[in-house]
């Protein structure tokens, strides 16, 4: 393969999905070619991003600025460890979800598949763009692309419910986009730049305390994609989307972009010291803590599997925000680690939910009695994911939660430790019944209700393989090996400045 | 104006017959004399057209249309505008781009610059006069004609 100049790599990484989107439209009438393009693009994107990793790990920041927008802001990319981590997560999961969605979409004979793949590619473009961008304005551009391109995916069903969900989705996210724009403009007006700087850029300005706090609130409102409470209701509503969409976008790309933005703001715009000085960390952490617990309580009440997963996502995202808000190195380590880890675990869970839907048509947990016997691989993978969510070994969720716990200790806050533990306990409360029902539940009742004379068996191979891989990775991450050590290197780089 | 079948008024008809040539002659005078005294292409054109209007009022619409058909109207109004806009272009052409648009002095009607300028203006006045005459008349036709062929008024 031809060697790409280093500064062009971010562009190429974004070029892959962009080109793929165009080709998908061109090959709209030829499914095999169309999906081949998707796969090829996802693979090449991942390899490009991976090739940047080795350089970034050695401490180099890959920068490529294209053109200045206004003085002090250029449209351009700056790949640092933190961004790369998110980009790696998104692009690697794109590969798996692509494979999975081929199976899913074909099995369910969904309509408008070209639109689906097209918007999917654009959404990845948005997510990776958010990850790699070097300043707030560039990030905003990709952030909005992400919002718009996922709307057709959410409303994919085109049923009344789906349209309503899509409307809600847009209403929340574009409103928040407006807040974000306002925040960015004011940031620029005070700091004359919006570049991400590990020490923060606002700390150097002489703005009043109240201005900075207001601005922070604007930022938080701007990152409504993080689905914190009380602005969360778009996420469960958006679960009407096809499962791969829920999986990638509502567990990984979209919500993670929101969380990513919050972390960026806290660590790179405000800076840890300024946050501590303003007392914003406590504020944010309390917010996140409340969301963690309340969302878990909501999750318990859900019978629809995907909705339960959605509430779980809301809760888990707040772990990340929570970890950052602790403003301690360990907390941030935990938060950053939780981004890829949660991505892998949650996607496993969603893919399992999709497989169940395809194989048996079941959506509700109460109907899944004994399903583990007919779909053993899927349900094993599900169990791994659930373990991780609860922070139990051997899944990787344990690692990140461990660091979060250390973070609370470091921050000298027993209250927050208690919150963390209670929330983990609640995770167990809503995840383990599923596992229990699947393996030990009333098999007769479950199968009689819904199988309609069909023999229940595993979903198609193209669906089972990706979910097994993600489950496998969820375990691998919790043991020392080259991949994990690279991750840790990246995290160490990200928090050291 | 009168309907086709309405009775004819001898006095009006006679007055019109006598007046119209004088009106038109006067109009021509006004057009030509525009540069040095009151009047000019526009006023002359209006006066000329008012001759037609008088004709229509005194006699009838169809007769007026016969005297001044639509084709004549089209050609006259365009020719007038061509003269008006074209003369200006000629100035540029004859001076090979040295003179500005409408700088009539450069058009070689005669050998004198000032005379050329005056002549050019007369031509322009004539062009305006023809156009205005045609357009005012055609607007009046359009407004007065009762056929269902719907046309919007030309704008001068």
């Amino acid at each position: 393969m031809m060697e790409i100049p280093e500064t062009l790599k971010p562009l190429f990484a974004l070029g892959c999905p962009a080109l793929a989107a165009i080709l998908i439209l061109v090959f709209g009438r030829r499914p095999n070619l169309r999906e081949g393009v998707t796969l090829l693009a996802s693979l090449s994107q991942f390899s490009i991003i991976l090739s940047m990793a080795s350089r970034v790990v050695s401490g180099v920041k890959i920068q490529s600025y294209l053109f200045p927008i206004v003085p002090g802001i250029s449209f351009g990319f700056r790949v640092d460890a933190f961004g790369l981590l998110f980009a790696l997560t998104a692009s690697s999961l794109w590969i798996l979800v692509s494979i999975y969605s081929i199976g899913y979409m074909r099995a369910l004979k969904e309509h408008a598949q070209t639109r689906f793949y097209f918007c999917f590619a654009l959404a990845i473009l948005g997510a990776v763009g958010v990850a790699l961008s070097g300043n707030l304005v560039t990030m905003y551009i990709f952030y909005e692309i992400l919002t718009i391109s996922t709307y057709p995916l959410v409303a994919h069903e085109q049923s009344q419910e789906a349209i309503f969900a899509g409307r809600k989705y847009l209403a929340y996210l574009l409103t928040s986009g407006v807040f974000l724009l306002a925040a960015i403009v004011f940031t620029y007006a005070t700091a004359q730049t919006t570049d991400f700087n590990p020490g923060g850029i606002l700390s150097l300005t002489s703005s009043s305390r109240s201005t900075l706090i207001t601005l922070f609130i604007l930022f938080i409102l701007g990152f409504m994609k993080a689905a914190y409470m009380p602005f969360h209701s778009w996420l469960p509503a958006a679960m009407v989307a096809p499962t791969p969409v829920s999986a990638l976008l509502h567990a990984v790309a979209v919500v993670k972009a929101g969380v990513f933005g919050i972390v960026r703001t806290v660590a790179y715009i405000y800076g840890i010291d300024l946050m501590r000085e303003l007392g914003l960390g406590i504020l944010l952490a309390s917010f996140a803590g409340v969301t963690m617990i309340v969302a878990s309580l909501f999750a318990i009440a859900q019978d629809n599997l995907k909705r339960r997963l959605a509430y779980s996502t809301i809760s888990q995202l707040s772990y990340i925000v929570f970890g950052v808000a602790l403003l301690s190195p360990m907390g941030i380590t935990g938060a950053i680690l939780h981004i890829p880890f949660h991505g892998f675990m949650k996607i496993t869970l969603f893919l399992c939910a999709g497989s169940i839907l395809v194989a048996s048509g079941k959506k509700n947990i109460s109907e899944m009695g004994g399903i583990g016997h007919s779909m053993p691989i899927t349900m094993l993978a599900f169990t791994v994911g659930a373990l991780g969510m609860c922070g139990l070994p051997p899944a990787c969720g344990f690692v990140s939660k461990w660091f979060l716990g250390l973070g609370t200790v470091e921050a000298d806050s027993l209250l927050f430790l208690a919150v963390l533990l209670i929330s983990s306990l609640l995770d167990v409360v809503y995840f383990f019944p599923i596992v229990y029902i699947a393996f030990f539940g009333d098999r007769e009742r479950g199968t009689l209700n819904l199988s309609e004379g069909r023999m229940m068996k595993e979903a198609p191979l193209s669906m089972v393989i990706p979910l097994s891989i993600t489950a496998l990775f969820s375990i691998i991450f919790s043991f020392p090996n080259p991949i994990t050590s690279m991750l840790f290197d990246l995290v160490r780089l990200a928090i050291s400045h | 104006m009168k309907e086709e079948q309405g009775e004819r008024d001898v006095i009006i008809e006679t007055v019109a017959r006598v007046m119209i040539p004088f009106i038109q002659l006067f109009a021509l005078y006004v057009i030509i004399h525009g540069a040095g005294g009151p009047g000019g292409g526009f006023q002359g054109g209006v006066v000329f057209a008012s001759g037609f209007i008088l004709y229509i009022i005194a006699f009838n619409l169809a007769g007026g249309r016969k005297r001044f058909p639509e084709s004549a109207n089209t050609i006259l109004s365009s020719v007038g505008l061509y003269i008006y806009a074209g003369i200006g272009l000629l100035a540029i052409l004859f001076s090979f781009g040295a003179a500005q648009y409408l700088n009539y002095g450069f058009i070689p009607f005669t050998s004198h610059f000032e005379e050329n300028r005056a002549l050019g203006m007369d031509f322009v006045e004539m062009g305006i006069g023809i156009t205005v005459m045609a357009i005012i008349a055609s607007i009046f036709f359009d407004l007065a004609e009762k056929d269902e062929k719907q046309k919007e008024g030309e704008d001068g």
Binding site: L66, F67, P68, I69, V70, P71, F75, K109, H111, Y140, I141, E144, I145, I148, P152, A155, Q158, S159, A162, I163, G166, R167, L170, L174, T175, V178, F179, L181, A182, V185, F186, Y188, A189 | S71, T74, I75, S77, S78, L81, Y82, A85, G86, G88, L89, A91, I92, G97, A98, A99, Q100, Y101, L102, N103, Y104, G105, Q150, K151, E152, G153, D155
Partner: protein
């Protein structure tokens, strides 16, 4: 010796006039020629305008004395960066619309092709005239030529359009009379009509009440012409019921050329120094803010696509005027001065042009006016609808489209001017835009065709593609793609030197 380019400002106007006559004559012989002549003329005009722009950018302003008379007595045509820029925009959209009209006019105005193109060319003449002239009375005459042609073109659609056109005519005439009165007042104190001359004569008279009155008359007169908020009442009907390309021209060019006239009067005849001494621009800002909000809210309440777009135009004129109003206070910043308003003049022309042409395409193909009838249109006319989506997203302000750029610049300008109130107004308007445009997009793509709710696979087969002909699709797509391309170019600052040149003409603008 004048170079060829220096003749172009006047030739642009004259060619257009001559072509109007030629269309009239040849159309009388053969109706088919009208479109070809019109297109060829506009193409040559467009190319000339690019030459002019290049000349102005590289060499400097062109001053052209008509008939060789010296300025205070003779009419002078002046091309500086401002009007060269506006001229290019105007002729570009004019060209696009005339290409589009080839098929559309056969459908919307059968048998009226010749008179349509004649009057259209007169309209272009008037617009070019307003742009190139350096004489304020001459500007009045061209404004009236433009308006008269516009009245006739709107009325050509018949029925409701007649009423709309009449209302426009009455209001437009009043506006023009006010403009004329303003000219009279200025003339009575200075004795000059040449814009450059006036700008030299006026400064000692800035305290004079007659001068102030003249300024107010100019503002009121032009506000009617450019449909600034409380005076916008003629606009919605006129825009909604005109033929598609005329709607596009009205919304994209005609009201914006009135804005150009406003800028010319405010900054060239009067100067930034005069404007600073008055609170007029502050008042304009508030009016514009009201226009933005109320225009958007009224747009939401519309069920007819073209009316909705018309109200959106009211809101967008608000953007331009707001940017203008901020231009004095934010004069020093790189995004201050006239930059945001100039940007939005181009951007709005692109977006609204595209949207109105798309609305025309729906009427052309399926006779659809109401938004609720658009179900399943996304499948029937995929390319047209895609263009609509791009332009609509641009109106909402999704990056990297043009709408985002102008919004960003106006926000930056209002921060620079320390008028923070307008930031939430702009942001809110963005959301309001979202509501009314998204409703259309949703209906086109997401709502299922009635009676086919059960199986979505079957309605895919049922609906055949019914695209509009390429001659209409191409202009739409040119505009739609420019919405994105220009957005990127703006972000990359490529056209900014031009805007800076405009600003420096008026002593505005900043450091870059």
């Amino acid at each position: 010796m004048l170079s060829f380019v220096e003749h172009l400002p006047v030739l642009v106007v004259v060619i257009s006039l001559l072509s109007a006559i030629t269309i009239f004559i040849t159309g009388w012989i053969n109706k088919k020629t009208a479109w070809y002549i019109s297109t060829a003329t506009l193409l040559s005009q467009f190319i000339s305008s690019i030459f002019i722009l290049h000349h102005v950018m590289t060499v400097g302003p062109i001053r052209y004395r008509l008939g060789g008379w010296v300025p205070p007595w003779g009419i002078e045509y002046v091309m500086d960066a401002l009007n060269a820029y506006v001229l290019v925009i105007l002729l570009f959209l004019g060209l696009v619309c005339v290409i589009y009209s080839k098929r559309n006019i056969d459908h919307e105005l059968p048998d009226k092709g010749v008179s349509f193109y004649t009057v259209y060319q007169l309209l272009i003449t008037g617009l070019c005239g307003i742009t190139v002239t350096g004489d304020i009375f001459n500007m009045y005459v061209f404004i009236e030529i433009t308006s008269l042609s516009a009245y006739a073109l709107i009325a050509s659609r018949g029925k409701i359009a007649l009423k709309a056109s009449f209302t426009y005519l009455v209001l437009g005439s009043i506006g023009a009379c006010f403009f004329l009165l303003g000219i009279g007042f200025l003339y009575s104190v200075t004795g000059s009509l040449n814009i450059h001359d006036l700008s030299l004569l006026l400064p000692p008279l800035y305290g004079n009440r007659v001068v102030l009155a003249a300024f107010v008359f100019f503002i009121v007169g032009l506000s009617i012409k450019m449909a600034l908020f409380p005076l916008h009442t003629w606009l919605p009907d006129a825009h909604a019921f005109a033929p598609a390309e005329i709607s596009a021209m009205l919304s994209g060019i005609i009201i914006e050329i009135s804005t150009y006239a406003f800028i010319r009067v405010a900054f060239s005849v009067f100067t930034a120094r005069f404007l600073q001494s008055l609170p007029v621009f502050d008042i304009l800002c508030w009016l514009a803010a009201a226009a933005i909000i109320i225009g958007s809210v009224l747009a939401i309440s519309q069920t007819n696509l073209k009316r909705m777009l018309a109200y959106s135009s009211v809101a967008n004129m608000g953007y331009i005027v707001l940017a203008l109003g901020l231009s004095i206070s934010a004069r020093k910043a790189p995004w201050g001065g006239l930059n945001p308003s100039m940007m939005h003049i181009l951007n709005h022309a692109l977006m609204k042009g595209c949207l109105f042409l798309v609305a025309g395409a729906f009427i052309y193909k399926a006779d659809l006016w109401e938004i609720r009838d658009f179900r399943g249109l996304g499948r029937r006319m995929p390319y047209t609808c895609a263009a609509f989506v791009i332009a609509a997203l641009s109106m909402i302000g999704i990056p990297p489209s043009v709408g985002f750029v102008s919004k960003l610049y106006i926000i930056l300008a209002s921060i620079e001017a320390k008028k923070f109130f307008f930031v939430p107004v702009l942001l809110l308007s963005s959301l309001l835009n979202l509501i009314y445009f998204w409703r259309v997009i949703e209906t086109m793509y997401m709502k299922r065709v009635e009676g086919k709710d059960s199986a979505h696979t079957s309605h895919e087969l049922h609906l055949q593609k019914e695209e509009i002909p390429l001659g209409m699709l191409a202009p739409i797509w040119v505009l739609a793609s420019l919405c994105v391309i220009m957005g990127i170019l703006w972000l990359a600052n490529i056209p900014i030197p031009l805007l800076n040149q405009i600003n420096s003409t008026f002593g505005l603008g900043g450091i870059r």
